[in-house]
């Protein structure tokens, strides 16, 4: 009886990613950065517990070639601990070029079970039962299909042929996806592959027949809800369809929340949208976009709630540019329509309504501040 093969398919670890676009304090970002390596430990644990024959990483192991030696050494340290073949494929973030991370890794001393796939030679594992045909990228953008040679790559007879590549599958991803490193959507069939393990797309998805993206094992974007998984792939034999299971490995959950607030129900609407963040919230990375028009009183409440949320979650990024605070009748009553404050409010409202006034964009915030100072006694 021929034994099947079990592999663990992962990709897009992007170790060394700095999350610079989040605009968050570095101490908050440190958690996200550290988790890029922690998830590799979890993958190692999973691989060991599931007795996989190999771990295939389909590119972008590192966020870029110009990461520090420390990142490389830390990864090597984690990989050394798990004596399973690790097949690491250079992707478009870390192409195999001169002085790339891979050259440095090899210089540091790669253990034998860690395979840096620097060319298209197939890696034969499991006593010849498994042949992994890699398509490493040697530059960031390739116009030719990197998996083109797969069809002509010879492998031991009877071996399970697994392709390992990094790029965008033609005709299957939306237009926003990469336009380089395009991979044929029939490659698995053309090249007689039993499984084509892909990287680049950060969500776990079967993109074509026997062709899967594992996605990144630790989410790193608000736009990719299917992140945070690895694929446990059972390959019963050559020519037989694979059995693919998605296993969660992610720690941080990324939420992209949007809401339009309108008085007088702003607080309720905000509560509803914030409710989408699963408890406990301390592993949540939240992007909150609020729009609409609210009273000064409600705007103060919104600020309070946002402050509370920021304390609860790992990272909070807010976009409140389109949330307009305007004094309501009640606000005006509270601040006083007459007397000195009344005149100040009138003047600020006039500025707010005057498009030619260079201070127009500050008037709403000024009114809000006036409200907080005058009505709430400085509590915001």
């Amino acid at each position: 009886m021929i034994m099947g093969i079990r592999i663990l398919h992962s990709a897009d670890w992007q170790i060394g990613k700095q999350f610079e676009s989040l605009g968050a304090p570095s101490d908050k970002l440190a958690y996200l950065r550290q988790e890029r390596l922690s998830v590799v430990r979890r993958i190692g644990d999973l691989a060991a517990s599931e007795n996989v024959d190999a771990v295939l990483v389909a590119g972008d192991v590192f966020d870029r070639n110009e990461v520090s030696d420390l990142q490389i050494r830390e990864l090597l340290h984690v990989l050394r601990a798990v004596q399973i073949p690790w097949l690491l494929l250079p992707g478009n973030h870390d192409p195999f070029t001169v002085e790339s991370v891979w050259e440095r890794m090899l210089r540091f001393g790669c253990p034998p079970h860690v395979h840096v796939l620097k060319d298209g030679d197939p890696v034969i594992l499991c006593d010849g039962r498994l042949a992994v045909i890699p398509a490493p990228l040697t530059r960031r953008h390739q116009y030719e299909d990197p998996t083109e040679p797969f069809a002509t790559t010879a492998t031991p007879a009877g071996a399970i042929r697994v392709g390992l590549a990094h790029g965008s599958v033609r005709n299957r991803l939306h237009e926003a996806a990469e336009q380089y490193n395009m991979i044929s959507d029939t490659r698995a069939i053309d090249a007689r592959l039993d499984y084509l393990a892909l990287g680049d797309w950060h969500g776990a998805i079967e993109i074509a027949d026997r062709t899967w993206y594992s996605g990144t094992p630790e989410a790193d974007s608000f736009r990719q809800p299917e992140s945070g998984y690895v694929l446990l792939v059972d390959l019963p034999g050559a020519g037989q369809p694979p059995k693919v299971d998605r296993v969660g490995t992610g720690h941080h959950r990324w939420y992209d929340l949007e809401a339009t607030l309108q008085s007088p129900d702003a607080a309720e609407a905000l509560g509803t949208v914030m409710g989408a963040v699963n408890k406990p919230c301390d592993s949540a990375v939240v992007q909150l976009t609020l729009r609409g028009a609210v009273s000064l009183a409600e705007r103060a409440t919104v600020s309070d709630r946002i402050a509370e949320l920021e304390a609860e979650v790992q990272v909070l990024r807010t976009n409140l540019e389109e949330l307009i605070a305007a004094p309501s009748e009640a606000d005006l009553d509270e601040m006083g329509r007459q007397g000195f404050i009344g005149i100040v409010v009138q003047r600020l409202r006039a500025v707010h309504g005057d498009a030619s006034n260079p201070d127009q964009k500050h008037a709403a915030t000024a009114l809000q501040r006036l409200y907080i100072e005058h009505v709430l006694g400085g509590r915001s």
Partner: protein, 895 residues
């Protein structure tokens, strides 16, 4: 309130004084300096606002200096037309106060003080003395001397009263307590973000902004480093690719094959070159042979031609010799004739010369003879003159006396006289007076004729029958003097004797005669010198020489028929001229002869030369002919021509062989072949060096990249970008809040300023009618606390403290009047008391202010304390003179 009477006793310098008759409107209280004007104001302040039982320093300050008396103030005043009387005596606990109200009710002591607070609307001090500046509106209207230009004292009471009044007019638009707290909080928050003066960001906002800039710079630097890193990687990749290309075995093999082929090509060309060189040498040899053959033929032809030329030349020479001989014959004949002519001329010249010499000799004889006569005459005169000179010299020599002798004689004569005088000075004068001198003898002789006698030597006078008298003048000393006289006389006599004269007068005469003889000698000598300047001996020699010359010249001359000198001169010239003419002809004949001779010499030379040349040509012709014949015997002319033709053909054949070989050599392109070898060798060398250079470059780049790559420049870049984004977000948030705060703060400030302006508008409007008269075009500006900020003049505001002192006191006076108007509506009617308030104002402004005061006086009681009474005459107010009120009191107090 209207003040009516003031009585003061024992208050500071005022002992006992009272002011009465104060009316509504303006009152002027005039007094000189130190008259006590300010004391009156002080007494009013103390009486109205200090408690009666004041003690300590305040009490001491109002007591006359050095006295412990009890100051008293007695005031009569009206409020709302009703009359009150206040009497206060200040004596500590013994002090008294009594206020009599219009209804007759009296308030005593503390009650009186409290009632005053009620009537005058002020809050007195609970303990201790009250500060006048804090007491209701009174300090606003009662202005002490020298304080007017300082502005107005607006205490809380005044402010509250004015604001109360304004609220009735304007409404409550000012910042309330709540809004003020809000304003202060906003200002505080604003100041955390912006500096007070420059309104530039500070604190956290500035720090955030700087942080963003700093991070931007850091990021830019790091990105540049990363770009360099990438550039180095590209260079490394490029070098590696190039290295791989150069290391390909085919590259080297191809070059080595190329080198072998090139070297073979070079060898081939070298063979061709040798062939060409051989052909060239053979051709060169043939050229030499051809040249020699050609030269032999040419030489033969030249010899033949030369021989023909020699024969022709010889013929020509012979013809020339004949012509020369023919030319020589007439020349010889001409020469003979010319020689004959020349001989004739020479004979003629000899004869003419002889005649001329004779004429010359006669002429010379006559001339020398005449000169001899002249010189002889001169010689004779000179001889006579010389005789005169000698006679004069003899005559002068007879006189031996000289100037020195005379000088010496005079000196010796003086010494004799001096010695005589010296002797005589010691002599004794003896005067004889005998009645009978008979028998009297002197020095054994008769009495001398002279009487008295001067005795310089011992003398004896014998008187008969009486004896003798021996007289001894001078003693030994006289003997010495006599000896001295004797020596002098002896010396004098010796010199006279030596000179040969007897006296000095003779000597002087002899000297005069000697000088005359000298003068004569000089004259003769000058004569002699003029006659014979060369010397008489020389002159004699000249005469003698001339005599000889005359004798010589006289030989051969007929002395019997001598012409005169002039005739001789004419004859001499004529004969000389004849000689000259003949000589000239002779010269010409000689030249003529010389020319003929020269022509004969030339003709003879031509003939001789031609004859020589003919001989030489003939010899040469013979030799050449013999030589040519000898050569022709060795090789005939035809034989030489045949050899030449053969050499020409051989040379042409060899030239063609060389041309063909050279063409083959050039066709093989030897330069290209050599260059190809060199090029290929260089390429191989370059290949090795390029590989070495690239290997070194690769090593260097790898080392550099490894070093830079360790720290992860890309990662650092992203981390910096993350920090920058965070800093930018933080700065944007802070800036948004700060800008909102700025807007809020500015809005509050503007609103408050506008509210104040609006609120204080009634006050401003009340000031304007007065101000317009004094400072046209100006508008007073108040701050929120009612102090005068300054004057608005058009678009500019002039701060109060920047105004002149005069303008400040004018504005202060006018503003007080306006406040008085405003407060009058509140039922507060305080008299305005100004203690010398307008001392700095010029006359125009003063008069304008005075008019304003006059207008105000229609509504308010105004009391002016001044030492410038005249300036206030125009006010038309009753004037009270302090001195009239308490002249005795002041004096008493002062004393």
């Amino acid at each position: 309130m209207r003040l009516r009477e003031i009585a003061i006793r024992d208050f500071r310098k005022l002992r006992n004084a009272s002011v009465k008759g104060l009316v509504d409107g303006a009152n002027v209280i005039a007094g000189n300096n130190e008259a006590g004007k300010s004391t009156v104001l002080s007494a009013l302040q103390t009486a109205f606002f200090q408690r009666h039982n004041i003690t300590g320093k305040l009490l001491e300050s109002i007591q006359p200096y050095g006295c412990s008396v009890r100051p008293e103030v007695d005031l009569g005043f009206e409020i709302d037309g009703r009359t009150y009387r206040l009497q206060k005596t200040f004596a500590g606990s013994s002090g008294k106060a009594e206020l009599t109200c219009p209804d007759g009710k009296r308030f005593m002591n503390h009650d009186a003080d409290r009632k005053l607070e009620e009537l005058l609307r002020f809050q007195g001090s609970a303990k201790g003395p009250a500060k006048f500046q804090d007491l209701g509106m009174w300090p606003l209207f009662w202005v002490e001397q020298g304080t007017m230009f300082q502005g107005m004292n607006i205490n809380p009471d005044v402010r509250a009263t004015v604001q109360s009044s304004l609220r009735k007019e304007v409404g409550d638009i000012l910042v309330g307590e709540t809004a003020a707290r809000l304003r202060d909080r906003i200002r505080l928050a604003y100041r955390e973000h912006f500096t007070k003066e420059t309104k530039k960001p500070c604190g956290a906002l500035s720090a955030a902004e700087k942080n963003v800039s700093h991070l931007r710079l850091q990021l830019a630097a790091k990105r540049a480093e990363l770009d360099n890193f990438h550039a180095s990687i590209e260079a490394l990749e490029s070098n590696l690719a190039r290295l791989a290309e150069l290391r390909r075995p085919e590259v080297r093999v191809s070059l080595e094959r190329e080198l072998a082929e090139a070297e073979e090509a070079v060898r081939r060309t070298e063979g061709l070159l040798r062939q060409t060189q051989t052909a060239d040498q053979q051709h060169t040899l043939a050229q030499v042979v051809l040249k020699h053959a050609g030269e032999a033929v040419s030489r033969r032809q030249e010899r033949v031609a030369e021989l023909a030329g020699l024969e022709k030349a010889l013929e020509q020479l012979r013809e020339k010799q004949v012509r020369a001989e023919e030319e020589l014959q007439p020349l010889e004949e001409q020469l003979t004739t010319a020689s004959s002519d020349l001989a004739d001329l020479r004979t003629t010249l000899l004869a003419a010369t002889s005649i001329s010499n004779a004429a010359n000799r006669v002429y010379e004889f006559l001339g020398v003879h005449q000169q001899h006569d002249r010189e002889l005459e001169r010689f004779r005169k000179a001889q006579a003159a010389a005789g005169e000179v000698r006679a004069a010299e003899t005559s002068r020599a007879a006189f031996r006396t000289s100037d020195a002798d005379l000088k010496k004689l005079r000196s010796l004569e003086g010494e004799v006289s001096k010695a005589e005088a010296h002797l005589e000075s010691a002599a004794t004068k003896l005067e004889f007076q005998f009645a009978d001198a008979e028998g009297v003898r002197f020095n054994g002789g008769p009495l001398p004729v002279e009487n008295p006698v001067v005795l310089t030597d011992a003398a004896v006078v014998e008187i008969p029958s009486r004896g003798s008298l021996r007289i001894l003048p001078g003693g030994d000393t006289l003997a010495e003097r006599r000896s001295e006289l004797d020596r002098a006389r002896s010396n004098f006599a010796k010199v006279l004797s030596a000179i040969g004269i007897s006296s000095v007068a003779d000597a002087e005469e002899a000297l005069r005669l000697k000088q005359e003889a000298g003068n004569s000698l000089k004259s003769h000598r000058e004569m002699l010198s003029a006659l014979a300047p060369e010397g008489i001996t020389e002159l004699e020699e000249i005469v003698r020489s001339l005599e000889d010359r005359v004798a010589v010249l006289a030989e051969g001359i007929d002395l019997t028929a001598l012409p005169d000198l002039k005739t001789a001169e004419i004859r001499r010239r004529e004969t000389a001229s004849e000689v000259q003419k003949i000589t000239s002809k002779l010269r010409e004949a000689e030249l003529h002869l010389e020319r003929w001779r020269a022509r004969r010499v030339d003709a003879r030379e031509v003939l001789t030369t031609t004859m020589g040349e003919s001989r030489n040509a003939s010899g040469t012709l013979d030799r050449n002919r013999d030589s040519l014949n000898a050569e022709r015997q060795k090789a005939g002319d035809l034989e030489l021509q045949s050899k030449l033709d053969e050499a020409r053909k051989a040379e042409a054949d060899l030239l063609k062989a060389f041309t063909d070989a050279n063409a083959r050599y050039l066709e093989a392109d030897p330069d290209a072949a050599t260059q190809r070898v060199q090029m290929t060798k260089t390429a191989l060398t370059n290949l090795d060096s390029d590989i070495q250079v690239l290997e070194k470059s690769v090593e260097r780049l790898k080392g550099s990249l490894e070093t830079i790559g360790k720290s992860g420049p890309g990662e650092q870049c992203d981390a910096l970008e993350a920090d920058l984004n965070n800093a930018t977000t933080r700065y944007a948030t802070l800036d948004r809040d700060a800008q909102a705060l700025r807007l809020l703060h500015q809005t509050i400030v503007d609103t408050e300023r506008d509210a104040n302006t609006q609120f204080l508008q009634p006050v401003v409007e009340r000031v304007q009618p007065y101000l317009r008269r004094v400072l046209p075009g100006a508008r007073v500006r108040f701050s929120a606390d009612l102090t005068i900020e300054g004057l608005d003049r058009g678009e500019t505001t002039e701060p109060f403290n920047s105004l002149s002192v005069g303008a400040r006191e004018q504005v202060s006076v006018l503003t007080r009047i306006a406040f008085a108007d405003l407060l009058a509506s509140e039922g507060v009617a305080a008299p305005i008391i100004l203690d010398d308030a307008l001392v700095y104002s010029d006359n125009t402004r003063f008069n304008d202010t005075l008019l304003a005061l006059a207008l105000a006086a229609k509504r308010h009681q105004i009391i002016i304390l001044t030492c410038h009474e005249d300036r206030y005459l125009k006010l038309g107010a009753p004037t009270i003179h302090l001195e009239e009120c308490w002249a005795s009191g002041v004096a008493a107090a002062i004393t």
